[in-house]
Structures are given as C-alpha cells and as structure tokens.
C-alpha cells in the first residue's frame, strides 16, 4: 500500500510547473521547501503570502485561470439547475479542492456559496490559505483548509458534490490510484473536474525545452514530461472508475496578454469534466 501512496507534491512545485509552461517566472522556487525555524521564517511566510496572492506575481497564470475554471466547476455543479443563477448559486454544495495551495481556487468557489474543503500536502501553503481567507467574511465561513493527502481523507468524508484537482495530476506518480481516490471521494452523481498538461511533443517543447532549457526560467528538472498524462489515457481512467465524461476542453494561455482561452486542441493544457454514475 505504501508504494501506492499518492505523492501530491507540495504546491509550490505545482506552481513551478505552471510557471515553466508559461515562461512567466524568473525566480528559483526551490527555497520554499527548506523550512528551518529561525528569524527569517516570519519574513519568508509573508513573502510567500504575497507571492501567492499578488495577481501579477508568480502565480499570475493561476489567478487568471480562475476565469475559465470557476465557470467550469460552477456549471458542472449546476448542470441540472435551470434558469437563474442568483448571487450564491453554489449554496449547500460541498467541494473538495485537492492541492489547493494558497486557496486561489477555493476562495471564488466559497464566494459563490459553496462549502469548500481545500487540502494540500504543504503546511506552508495551508497556512497562507488560512491567513488570507481570515480577512474575508464571505470566504472565511465557508472554507476549511487542511494539510493532508487525498487518500487520508477517504475514510473521513461522506463524499463531495464536486472533487477538483487543478494542475495537480502532472506531478503525481500514480495517476491510476489518484483517480481511484477521487472516485471514492465523490458522491454518486457528483462531479470530477481535472485540469492538467497533456503528454505530447507540443507540451515537451513548451514546458520542458522552452522553459527549462532555452529560456532558463525554471531550474532544469523541475518537470518530468513522463508524468504528464495524455488526455485519452486520463479519460479511460476516469471512465474505468465509474464516471461519465461530459467534456474535455483544451485550454490555452497567451503569455503576452496573460489570459487563458478555451481551445479545441487539447495537446498542451486541458480540462476534463465528468460525473460519477449513481449506481
């Protein structure tokens, strides 16, 4: 079982991945991992907070990605709801965000009325998320951040209306087990929303060669192209675990306008939306 343990990388690694794809980050980010308790700790923590929540900072691409992925999640949950959306459309929906980082995706979902549980393997990221949410009453009463892995949660939860893993799978050693865990965490009829990077020559060019070798934006070796999951493989995994696929959508980031857009082509970034069958 130990061999099957899901290793969700701490979330700064996750963001490194994003950065390297989009050439937008110039700073080596490996220093976050070294956490010795000393005087610099407080400074480092606030610096990390700032980095997570500066919309022009290193996580810029994830902030702007919200404009696509929040509607994706919202619409997946409201699939059966007709007509008006109102101001708190996700009221009473329980959402799990695996690899939530500093809460960039959890906060907007909470503002839409959902009860959001954000989990991450990085204790620092969880502290950042908690610290940031505290200021916003609209968010604070609806989020619950925990430093843990998805597999730890399986026996503790009654199931979620939606399980979200955005920009996570590309760092996981065992995607089969990861999707199986997601399936256990979703309620019957619940949604699964995944966004990740495809394993194609194009993604190799952009994420590995471009970012790590040509432009030297990110330290070499941050990425493992072999861990990227092809869309068809992910789709069969999801189906195998009892889901019906509703959508596979290509996503495209323009580093010049710094905006995301939808795309028919799924060869680099893509999103998958599925619904767990009731039986």
């Amino acid at each position: 079982m130990a061999a099957k343990s899901i290793k969700i990388l701490s979330n700064f690694r996750r963001f490194c991945a994003i950065r390297s794809v989009f050439f937008s980050y110039k700073r080596a980010c490996s220093s976050y991992g070294q956490t010795t308790v000393d005087d610099e700790e407080v400074f480092k923590f606030s610096e990390l907070c700032s980095e997570f929540w500066d919309i022009n900072g290193p996580f810029q691409a994830l902030h702007t990605m919200n404009r696509l992925r929040v509607p994706l999640i919202r619409d997946a949950l409201l699939r059966d709801t007709e007509g008006k959306i109102g101001t708190k459309p996700l009221k009473d929906k329980n959402i799990l965000d695996i690899g939530c980082g500093g809460g960039i995706l959890c906060e907007p979902l909470a503002r839409l009325g959902a009860n959001v549980m954000g989990i991450d393997a990085s204790a620092e990221a969880i502290s950042v998320a908690q610290h940031h949410a505290k200021h916003d009453p609209e968010v604070w009463e609806r989020v619950n951040y925990r430093c843990m892995t998805a597999e730890d949660l399986v026996n503790q939860s009654d199931g979620f209306d939606a399980v979200v893993a955005s920009e996570v799978i590309e760092h996981i050693n065992d995607p089969e087990f990861f999707v199986e865990t997601c399936a256990q965490l979703a309620k019957p009829g619940g949604s699964l929303i995944l966004t990740t990077i495809n394993r194609t020559p194009q993604s190799y060019l952009l994420a590995i060669l471009g970012a790590e070798y040509v432009l030297n934006i990110v330290e070499r070796g941050t990425h493992d192209w072999n861990k990227f999951v092809p869309d068809d493989q992910l789709a069969s995994l999801v189906i195998y675990n009892g889901f019906t696929i509703h959508m596979i959508q290509g996503l495209c980031y323009n580093p010049f306008t710094r905006q995301w857009s939808k795309l028919g082509d799924t060869s680099v970034n893509y999103a998958l939306v599925a619904q767990k069958e009731f039986v």
């Binding site: 929540w53 929040v70 959306i85 101001t87 906060e107 503002r111 200021h135």
Partner: protein
C-alpha cells in the same frame, strides 16, 4: 451624475444583489419636485448608447416624463470656408425618424437617477453633504497588512471598509490626487459660454449645429421647438466679454458667429467650389449647407462661463480603486462626448464587476479592474485625440490648414461609409 448612474447600475444588477453600495455625495440632494418652466443652462448631449444605459438602470422613463429633446441631424461647418458635414443616424430615407441622441438638462438627469436610487434603498445607501477626509488603499499584496480593504474616513468621523472605492468625484478628483496617480493636463486657454437661446419663431429644431470659428467652436443644441442651448467655446478674454455684454449685444454676437464668414480667401473658395462640382456630379443627392434659425433673445440670467481643459489620468485603476468619468478623463466639449464617455465607463465597470461576481472573484481585485481600464482607455484616448485634434485644426485661419480642412470636410461628407462610421462612434 456618472457616480449616481453607477450606483443605480450596480444596485439594480441581479448578480450583485448581495453587495452593498454606499454613495458619498458632497452636495445636498438635488431633486426637482416640479419641473421648472425655464430650461437650465447646464445640459448634456446623451448619445443613444448612453440612453440605453439610462434605460437599463430605469432612469430614462423619468427623463422622458420630465423633458428631453431628441436631435436627428448634426451639421458641422467652418466659418473660414465652405466645408461642412451633415450627419444623420440613418441614411435610409424610410428610417428618417432615428434619433442621434438627446439634449437633457443635467438637473433632470440627476433627478431621474435619484428617483431610481430611492427604489434601491435595500442595498444602496446615499450620504448627502458628506466629505471624504482620508482613505487608505492597501498595497497590491495584501497578506501582511491588518486590513486588506480600502479604509475610508469621512469628515464627520464615520469610518467604512470596502472592497472597492470608486472615484467619481470630477476632474479635480480627491480620490485620484490622493492615490498618486499621474494626470496629464492641457489648458485650452478657452472658456465655454453657455446660455439658453430663444428663436424668433418655432421650428422643427431637430438639428444640433456646430460651427468652427478660429477662436473655437460654437454649438447650438435643441431644447424645444423654440429654444436651444448654447455652448460656445472661445478664448478666455472673449468669453469674459461675452458674459458681460448687454443681452441684445450678446444675441447679436451669437447670430454673427453662426453666419459671418471669417478670413475668406479666394484660392480656398475656388478649391472648395471645384470640389463641390466634382462631388455633386458623383453624388447628385448631395445635401446642401443649411442655415440655423435666427436667435431673437436669450433667457434672462442664463449666461455662464467655465474654463476648458483636457485631463487624462495615466491609470484608471489600482487594487481596490477605480476612477470613472471626469475623475479619469476630461475632454473638450466640442463633440458633447464628455458625459457619454463617463456613461461608457459606468457600463463597462458594471459589466466587469458583474462578471467578477458571477465568477466568485473579489470585486476589488485588480484583475478585472485592469480589464475595465484597458477597454476604456482605448475608447477614451481615441475620443480625446479626435476632439483635441479638431479643436487644434480649426483654431487657425492659416490658409493651408483652412484649405485642407475644408476639402477634408467636403470629402468626408460625400463618403457615406466613412460618415456612417463616425456617426456610429459618436452614438455609442
């Protein structure tokens, strides 16, 4: 005006129903209980785009119930030559009744907006006779500070925290000045003289007239069948003189400004005539220059003057802060587009904030505010460049410029597709 429109637009928006809006108003509540018989000398040209916005916030029906005068045609011509342009909302003779816009008195506009604001009391509060004492906008990265909100203190000591502070406080905006936002200014060394004009006999009065004099443009905007509003931009000293003239003399000056030919030159006239012949061969239905009705008198005490300047704020937004209307940009009144740019800001900001709410974003986050800024700066700088350029081009009687602009006018007037573009832009 622009600020109240935003408050109405946000307060009435379905996606923003759970948000609270607070309006800080320096003056007392302006509300006409009864429409005054006399027209006010402060009027706005409301484009059909702005009219649609006012309709969507519910204020337009009140304006129509009070008074608003539509105009269907616009004639722009040059005192130094024969060049002129006529614009119509539609070139289709069957659709002759399309309005290009409306002339609305400012106090009518404000009253209509107040009426709508009163209906929105559940989520919009208005504090009258209040002044902002100070405010603090958090730095872009907010995790370290005590409060990530914009903190506001009023003169009377009341304090508020808000996700978003909107500065709709005019060209001398306190919000802009205290936010260290750079503002480009240009003094036109001109003043605008306003007055309410009365015709000798009632007419259709559906044309907005504008004539370029070397000292600045003079515009006559319809208010009713027998009255129009004057907006005369001229040199500061001339404006001072105009305001102090006896009323009969002033009327004479206005009539002269609308009819008298200035600095005519035979070479320029010949070129224009030649051009006219060519164009009327190509386009036989070429509509001729029309003469505005003669002014008989002015409404007593309706004269006033105000200095003209151009201002443009280098940024319209910061995290948790946005500028709209004159606080962000002030242009030359020659095209009557100043307030319409402000209404355009309102529409754009409302749309961005609505989208942010639908997507669960923090309303004061820079991300969508930047989208507002980019969209508006594109629009505003074009209009600013156009009005500034026209004012400069026509502020001279130097022959080559006179010839170029007159021929340009004639050509543009004949080029229906180009004219259509200009009309569409001005009606936005």
């Amino acid at each position: 005006m622009v600020g109240s429109t935003l408050a109405c637009a946000l307060g009435g928006d379905e996606a923003l129903q759970d948000k609270k809006v607070l309006v800080l108003e320096a003056g007392p509540q302006v509300k006409l209980d009864k429409l005054p018989e006399l027209y006010s000398n402060r009027v706005s040209t409301v484009s059909s785009g702005s009219q649609k916005l006012l309709e969507s916030v519910g204020a337009w029906k009140h304006i129509e119930n009070m008074r608003a005068k539509p105009f269907r045609r616009m004639q722009v011509w040059d005192a130094c030559g024969d060049g002129y342009l006529t614009f119509e909302a539609s070139n289709d003779p069957l659709q002759h009744a399309v309005n290009m816009g409306y002339i609305v008195e400012n106090n009518v506009l404000v009253t209509a907006l107040e009426m709508e604001l009163e209906k929105l009391r559940s989520n919009v509060d208005v504090l009258y006779k209040t002044k902002l004492k100070k405010f603090k906008i958090p730095p872009p990265t907010t995790s370290d500070v005590d409060s990530p909100w914009a903190e506001i203190v009023l003169e009377d000591g009341q304090k508020f925290s808000t996700r978003l502070l909107v500065g709709a406080d005019g060209f001398n905006s306190q919000v802009r000045r205290n936010s260290d936002i750079n503002c480009i200014s240009h003094d036109y060394k001109q003043s605008g003289v306003v007055a309410t004009l009365c015709f000798s006999e009632p007419t259709d009065n559906i044309v907005a007239w504008q004539r370029f004099l070397p000292t600045g443009p003079i515009a006559i905007l319809p208010l009713s069948d027998s009255q129009s509003s004057l907006v005369w931009s001229t040199t500061t000293s001339h404006a001072k003189n105009l305001v102090s003239l006896p009323e009969e003399k002033f009327v004479e000056a206005v009539n002269d400004a609308l009819t008298e030919d200035i600095a005519r030159n035979s070479l320029s006239e010949m070129a224009s005539r030649l051009m006219h012949n060519v164009l009327s061969t190509v386009q036989p239905d070429y509509l001729g220059l029309q003469i505005p009705p003669t002014i008989e008198s002015i409404e007593e005490n309706s004269r006033a003057s105000f200095p003209l300047a151009l201002n443009h704020s280098s940024y319209y937004v910061k995290p948790r802060m946005a500028l709209i209307g004159d606080a962000a940009h002030r242009i030359h009144p020659l095209a009557g587009q100043g307030v319409n740019l402000g209404f355009g800001d309102v529409e754009c900001l409302r749309d961005e904030l609505r989208q942010a709410a639908i997507d669960g974003q923090d309303l004061g986050s820079l991300e969508h505010l930047l989208r507002y800024e980019t969209a508006r700066q594109k629009q505003v700088t074009v209009m600013m460049g156009a009005t500034h350029g026209l004012n400069t081009l026509f502020s001279t009687s130097f022959l080559p410029f006179v010839m170029v602009r007159n021929l340009g006018f004639q050509m543009t007037n004949a080029l229906t597709p180009v004219k259509k573009q200009i009309v569409e832009y001005a009606m936005k």
